[in-house]
């Protein structure tokens, strides 16, 4: 009872809270990084160097009035943010923070597939949110968003298949272990796949330069135009949680998860002084930083460019990569 129910529940509680906290700090980090990128200071008022801004924002959102438009579909309007956030959090069930079972909730043998499938559920939140608002901009945005998500999901999944082909397992722990055994992070074996997954990840999280569904100038804020307060906060959380998920997946698959650099070179053993989960979280935040960095750097795509990039570049390249991987797999 303890092993099967209590400890997992505890882990879940810890993890969910950790993610939520991480998100608040991620927001702060984003504001700061973008500010520095633009030679500004960013939030400085709340706390030293504005560190407490991370607390202030959530508090503001929770306290705000939660408006439900009159013509909205009430239930769905409420359900949508939840459907958006829950999958983002559920994914963490299979994300291993370290080699020990202590560091993950479950290691299922279809872990990667699980992540892919659960992520794909997240699109409902966006579609329903847009639809339930009964307002044209959110609806358009939600249609855009879902089209974008579905398109890029294909490319990402196709790319991940080639990774699976290299590892021979779908289990995330297994994938990381495979990298330990081969002694090299898969990012170096599958650079094309890395780039593809990363670009796809940007698109799936609606991040710049693919943040079309939230393009303020076109859609006055996107699918969550009509949202405010707590429900908006949930969407917000979901987006950033998704960023963390993508980063975590990229790290797990391409950058050796919790492994230190060059895991099979003995004289670098001193690096193991840092615990595995620190390595993992560090790498994840590194990628989160890249996310933000890209947002600060790149302009937004046009919608048709976005779609043609997905369908005419990423998917063919992904298929090509798959074929090449297959050939290599057979030949060597």
């Amino acid at each position: 009872m303890l092993d099967t129910v209590v400890i997992p529940l505890l882990k879940i509680a810890v993890l969910v809270n950790a993610v939520l906290v991480a998100v608040t700090f991620l927001v702060l980090m984003e504001r700061k990084v973008i500010a520095w990128a633009q030679s500004r200071l960013g939030p400085m008022r709340v706390g030293p160097y504005g560190i407490l801004q991370a607390l202030a924002d959530p508090i503001k959102l929770i306290l705000k009035e939660d408006i439900t438009p009159v013509k909205a579909d009430r239930y769905v309007f409420t359900l949508a943010p939840i459907m958006s956030l829950v999958p983002a959090l559920v994914v963490f069930a299979v994300v291993p923070f370290g080699p020990d079972p202590l560091y993950y909730i479950g290691d299922i043998n279809v872990g990667l597939l699980f992540i892919i499938s659960v992520t794909s559920i997240g699109v409902y939140g966006i579609i329903l949110g847009g639809w339930a608002s009964n307002s044209k901009y959110p609806l358009l945005a939600s249609l855009r968003a879902s089209a974008q998500l579905i398109s890029y999901e294909i490319a990402v999944t196709m790319t991940l298949v080639s990774v699976i082909l290299t590892t021979g397992t779908l289990s995330l722990v297994g994938i990381v272990e495979a990298q330990r055994e081969s002694g090299i992070w898969f990012g170096f074996i599958q650079p094309v796949a890395l780039v593809l997954v990363f670009i796809g990840g940007l698109a799936e999280t609606n991040r710049a330069p693919f943040d079309l569904p939230e393009a303020e100038t076109e859609l006055t804020g996107g699918f969550h135009t009509e949202y405010s307060g707590m429900r908006f906060a949930l969407f917000f959380l979901a987006e950033y949680a998704n960023m963390i998920v993508i980063s975590a997946v990229v790290v797990l698959i391409f950058f050796g998860g919790w492994l230190r650099p060059f895991p099979n070179i003995a004289w670098l053993g001193f690096l193991d002084l840092l615990p595995a989960w620190i390595w993992f979280v560090g790498k994840v935040f590194l990628f989160l930083y890249v996310f933000i960095w890209i947002r600060a750097t790149l302009p937004r795509y046009r919608y048709d460019q976005l779609m043609s990039l997905g369908w005419k570049v990423l998917i063919p390249v992904a298929i090509g990569n798959l074929v090449v991987t297959g050939v290599f797999k057979v030949v060597f």
Binding site: V110, V118, S120, I121, I127, W131
Partner: protein, 175 residues
């Protein structure tokens, strides 16, 4: 005990959501119930040691097909008043009654036949496919060897369906 509890809970939810799917006035709600229903079916699959199928259920059904439904609902249903549920001219009542009767009949048949046969252990296994828990690899193996041709046919079917759907849904440039 726990297993039974889980099963009954899931079964109740699945059936309940099924009823909701059929009876919901708004098509969007219907879709929502359908999604949840599918997710629960996926959970049921997990309890039956079919993780891969469960994941595929989520990925393809919940993540793909139902999204498609949602799309279509949103495309066609925007200004449509919710349909009137019952119409005396329709066969609704008789359908319901008859459906119930057939259900009952089927229940009787199934239960009686299964009771009588007392779970034919392995006798129906005409394919002799090995089965282990965590069977993704075996499933792939079977799929690409014994069922290669059906698999390829299915892929052709999907291709044809894709082409057909595009042709059907595309607005012709000339018009």
């Amino acid at each position: 005990m726990a297993e039974a509890l889980l099963f009954y809970t899931l079964a109740a939810l699945i059936l309940g959501l099924g009823v909701m799917v059929v009876s919901a006035r708004s098509a969007v709600h219907s879709v929502l119930f359908l999604v949840v229903n599918f997710l629960l079916v996926a959970v049921l699959y997990v309890t039956l040691n079919a993780e891969f199928v469960a994941v595929i259920q989520v990925l393809v059904y919940a993540g793909g097909i139902v999204v498609l439904y949602l799309f279509v609902v949103m495309l066609v249903n925007l200004k449509q008043a919710p349909e009137r549920f019952s119409d005396p001219r329709r066969l609704a009542r008789s359908g319901l009654v008859l459906g119930g009767v057939v259900l009952a009949l089927i229940v009787v048949v199934v239960s009686s036949s299964l009771r009588a046969g007392a779970a034919p252990e392995g006798t129906l296994s005409g394919f002799g496919t090995p089965f282990t828990s965590g069977n993704t690899e075996q499933l792939g193996w079977v799929l690409y060897t014994s069922y290669l041709i059906p698999f390829e046919l299915a892929s052709m079917l999907l291709l044809v369906a894709m082409v057909g759907a595009i042709v059907l849904a595309k607005r012709h440039l000339g018009e």
